[in-house]
Symmetry: C2
Amino acid sequence: MEEFAALSGVSRPTLSKYFNDPNSVRQSTRSKIEMALERHDYRPNIFAINQNRKMTKNIGIVVPFLADPFFAEIARVIERRCIDAGFWPILFSSHGEQKLENEILNSLRSLKPAGVLLAPLGRGSDHSTVEQFCRDVPTVLFDSNIEGLGAAFVGSDNFQSVPLMVEYLCRTGEPPCLLETQPVNPNANKRRNAYKQAMEQRGLEPHIVRLDGSDWNFEDIGYDGGLRVIRNQKLPTNTVLCSNDRLAIGFMSACLEMGIRVGRSSECSLRVAGHDDHPFAKFTCPPLTTIAQDYAAISERSVETLFLLVEGGLSGTRSETLFEGKLVMRASA
Amino acid sequence: MEEFAALSGVSRPTLSKYFNDPNSVRQSTRSKIEMALERHDYRPNIFAINQNRKMTKNIGIVVPFLADPFFAEIARVIERRCIDAGFWPILFSSHGEQKLENEILNSLRSLKPAGVLLAPLGRGSDHSTVEQFCRDVPTVLFDSNIEGLGAAFVGSDNFQSVPLMVEYLCRTGEPPCLLETQPVNPNANKRRNAYKQAMEQRGLEPHIVRLDGSDWNFEDIGYDGGLRVIRNQKLPTNTVLCSNDRLAIGFMSACLEMGIRVGRSSECSLRVAGHDDHPFAKFTCPPLTTIAQDYAAISERSVETLFLLVEGGLSGTRSETLFEGKLVMRASA
DNA sequence: AATAAAACTTTACGCGCGTAAGTTTTATGT
DNA sequence: ACATAAAACTTACGCGCGTAAAGTTTTATT
């Protein structure tokens, strides 16, 4: 930096000022620097910059499982928004492991991020680690809520979306049973409770089919468990509401293999619905009827909320923003 | 660090030595530190560590488009391997943009990574930036090759896999046409050439259907283009080999919408095949016949090669490792 | 018990930059 | 032309840690 300052004919502190905000120096000085910049291509070291700044332009993004296209897509949108706003997003995946989530949060601390967007593991999170982290770093939770942690939460309203689907399924055929795995996060629990409530409000008995498996390989769980459930004739109804789309995708694959025709048309014997409108839900066999989570809105609002928080424009009270899901009718139910 | 050194009863340099390699200090010293560690939970600042070390434990991973499940899955495996080997992976997505790829590479430099695993944009890469980067940082390219750049390349052998598929399709029905988009990377070009070669070797005329679109939204391109091609009756044969699975997924969705039955059974009028064995290929409608790229092998070998390179155990000559694809027969062709 | 080797401590400097304080130069108004 | 404020300069220190050099203590060897 010293060298480059000499080359451009300004002092190092002025150069530092320029990189922090090009408009903060005189026009003549600015052009001197930018001319030298063209010839020598110098760039300040991002991680040294942050060494001594109170607030950096780094934004941490932590998701529980990046190989899940839902999170991949959300992460993509969030990264773009951050970049466009002049921030530097750094993306981490917990790979479904508490230990990794903890390590990521601890490392994130030393990055001195301006803020962090965290989709926690949920049930699998280490509450005290997350709590401590949220105290130290401006954090907005999304997708998966942990009561009281973070400055805000942005997600979707399972108690609106699940009843919506239950209503639709009941109106158009047999009432659904709920297919779920061991819940990995609060959403799964909420969806189960919302399902129960919705059924009971209709005077119907809820049926819950629990598949083995406690990791994030939902397709496999849905497939393996689906085979077992079908073979053992354990399906209480001819309508199956899956706790999420990935589970539904795996389950429908099992149906296909067992020769069960899935769909709402008359020649089909089973209806399957999902939740989330997973990026590949419209390409499944048959295309999956599901609840669309508003990806764009959740991403946008999360980022906006974080920016507000970073700029200090957020009141002390923790806000929870829930977006409504929309019914997406396709061929499967 | 000073404080914590005092707390554990050792000097700061010794503490530094411990964190660099816990085995490099005497057992008694080590336990002193680790006892203090339990009570006070101190962690060195990763990005300050790298400030003054010749070699860090950081490994950069750069993929062109992380919302593509293929890359999401490969990134997942690579991250795991790095973590298990005691490295600290940092993941970046270029979002299909040259400008971002350049920025990522330049920022990566200041991270002083021990090595970088780079799946370049390919055609969209800025050759001189990548070249300069590879000179400065130990880099292994994967998935998409750029002649001469990086210390090694690991990918799959399109000139083996595509002919394999062509052979299968010819043997079991009408010879295929090739459905492609504007090629975003070298693989697309290689696949086209491999297709041409394979057809010509059989004395057949190659037919190439090019769809509009030059970004990474292959499903959309396959769907929109598919609708157009089908409406205009521009399909030269009843067998379509898609340049990659995502394209095939979109295309099949268009077929479904147009009421065209896809599959190899007698009541179907169109066969569709893909390439890659995308994580969702087996869940499509109908399940997609495709070529399985050996995800695991590519990830493993990339990481292994990089580790060798980092440890200096690699000769000067640039190596190219190509894995063979395997035919995965499903219902679509 | 003597000796060498290993491990530790103290001291000091450096990484690439931010930033504050005090001083000098430059642009603006009159 | 001079006064004044804004901008730039010089100087100095700090971030959190790595690391080299020199001296001191501990451990292993004979």
